[in-house]
């Protein structure tokens, strides 16, 4: 009961934050930009009588770029909206009036997590769905397995949310934000280095990518999502930045789910123990 009350108020709180609406506007701006670019590309195809196979490859790559933008935007929005919720309420004392109510502390934290999770899922559904819709209406191109792709993007956001909650029970808002964004940057670099192994054929770059994914599996989730959403032929082209060079296994996705769960458990445990 307390859990759902906290989830409800957190969802409403998140929805009141200007950053969410700004992020929605940013997402809509990306959709408009993507739509205009795709329309121009379609006109160029007609002028130059581009072969259907090449058209398809270019439009697929453009769609993947759009979906990758959505992925990055969603993860950043997740962190920026939730970074203050635990750390900020502890430092301001807002938590005192809540934590003294007759609900266990774990319900306060899980309720807040659930509220943010719902908000983020709605955000991903709107922007991710919007990107696919624009791709279909303007370019007539759709991703393979869009549902799996969307679910994996949601998983990546929930992973970032759980890690933000975990560090929020220890550190101040600013420190928490720096740690989580630093971890994401670390994973981003590791993921792209692993992707580069497709060009350099370096096994050690693959190892670097795997180690970085074990430390923070966010980028691995995206690369799995890219694999799921690309047609096998488009993914096999080595010159594409989203080429299926080193595909994270489902074991890695399972590991990411485990990482999410452990982060949340640690967050609950430490929030339960700490002085407020």
């Amino acid at each position: 009961m307390g859990c759902w009350t906290m989830a409800g108020i957190t969802f409403r709180e998140a929805a009141r934050k200007k950053i969410l609406w700004t992020a929605l506007l940013a997402g809509l701006a990306c959709l408009v930009l993507f739509g205009i670019a795709m329309k121009y590309q379609m006109e160029d195809f007609q002028t130059r009588a581009t072969a259907p196979f090449i058209r398809y490859q270019i439009l697929s790559a453009m769609l993947m770029l759009g979906l990758y933008t959505v992925d990055l935007l969603a993860v950043v929005v997740t962190i920026l909206t939730s970074v203050d919720t635990i750390a900020g309420e502890i430092s301001s004392g807002t938590i005192h009036a809540i934590a003294t109510k007759p609900i266990p502390r774990w319900q306060v934290l899980i309720g807040k997590w659930t509220g943010f999770a719902c908000m983020i899922a709605a955000y991903v559904a709107i922007i991710f769905g919007g990107m696919i819709a624009v791709g279909y209406w303007v370019g007539g191109v759709t991703p393979e397995n869009p549902l799996q792709g969307a679910l994996l993007v949601c998983l990546e956001c929930l992973l970032a949310l759980s890690v933000t909650f975990m560090f929020g029970t220890w550190f101040s808002t600013l420190t928490n934000g720096i740690i989580v964004l630093g971890l994401l940057g670390f994973a981003f670099m590791g993921g792209w280095l692993e992707q580069m192994s497709g060009f350099t054929e370096s096994g050690r770059l693959v190892a670097v990518g795997i180690v970085s994914s074990l430390l923070m599996p966010s980028e691995a989730i995206w690369r799995r999502a890219a694999f799921e959403m690309q047609a096998p032929l488009a993914g096999s082209l080595p010159f594409s930045p989203f080429a299926n060079v080193s595909i994270p296994s489902m074991t890695m996705i399972g590991y990411a789910g485990f990482y999410l769960l452990i982060s949340l458990v640690i967050a609950v445990y430490h929030f339960h123990l700490r002085d407020l």
Partner: protein, 285 residues
């Protein structure tokens, strides 16, 4: 905190007093389960402090009450009521009179970010009372309030005692404590150093200052029948008596012995005098 031992009678208003940094807020936080003691145990309403079940019977106003500023006071009370396990229909009945009690009924549709500090204290007090708790912890409830607001809080606290609730009050405003509380405890460096029953304290020691002439040695010695600590300096005679009933006899004795009296002033020791005596002049509030 060290060797903190407190006993608060049910249905009373208890004042917890001490200088800054003495450990008053920390003590309340330990009793509410916000802070864990490194050793020792505390029981609140017969149950271990901090448990979910005992929190069902407790209301708490933090020293600096803050909450989501985008809520209206009615929404805030509904939220806190839901967290206390109240149903929507219970809250529909409870919220309007509670807003009225704390003087916020005319502001029920305003957002909290438009509230003054005093209004925040009032809504904070209302959320502490939403579920009609048996025990209410108020940490500096009159901080930031104007005289009208202070009177309102005083009336609310008394009405809670009449309802049968126990009120545990932290306050720096000793005048407020003196007129509101039944009992007080003084805390210094994490230890309770004194406690007083203010209902008895108010009837206790009276210091009498008499200004006049012809205070002979016999006159002064004769005061021993009613008082102690006689001190004569020039035209000012001071002594202490334990009963207000003795004052007419003292005055008659002085006049009958030929003393000329210009001024006869009985003064009760205030809570502030007691506080300064216990804490020392330099500790400050």
């Amino acid at each position: 905190m060290r060797n903190l031992s407190l006993e608060v009678r049910r249905g009373s208003i208890f004042g917890f007093l001490g200088p800054n940094g003495a450990g008053k807020s920390t003590s309340i936080k330990m009793l509410l389960g916000l802070v864990r003691p490194t050793s020792g145990e505390a029981f609140v309403l017969g149950s271990p402090a901090g448990g979910v079940e005992v929190r069902r019977k407790i209301g708490f106003l933090p020293e600096h009450f803050r909450f989501y500023e985008w809520l209206t006071p009615a929404e805030l009370l509904h939220l806190h009521g839901r967290l206390c396990g109240m149903s929507a229909s219970q809250l529909r009945e409870r919220v309007p009179p509670l807003l009225d009690m704390v003087g916020l009924a005319p502001h029920r549709d305003k957002h909290i970010h438009d509230f003054s500090k005093g209004m925040m204290q009032r809504i904070g007090l209302a959320q502490a009372l939403i579920h009609e708790p048996e025990l209410i912890f108020l940490d500096e409830p009159t901080s930031g309030l104007d005289p009208m607001g202070r009177r309102l809080v005083r009336d609310v606290i008394r009405s809670q005692r009449e309802r049968g609730a126990t009120v545990f009050l932290n306050s720096h405003l000793l005048g407020e404590v003196e007129v509101t509380c039944d009992h007080v405890a003084f805390i210094k460096d994490g230890e309770v150093v004194a406690s007083h029953d203010l209902r008895i304290f108010g009837q206790g020691e009276i210091r009498v200052v008499v200004r006049g002439r012809n205070f002979t040695t016999q006159v002064v010695a004769g005061l021993a029948a009613w008082g102690t600590g006689m001190n004569l300096e020039g035209e000012q005679l001071t002594f202490t008596t334990s009963s207000r009933d003795a004052l007419p006899d003292v005055l008659r004795h002085l006049v009958a012995a030929g003393s000329e009296i210009y001024e006869f002033t009985p003064e009760r020791a205030s809570l502030e005098d007691l506080f300064v005596r216990i804490m020392g002049e330099d500790r400050g509030l």
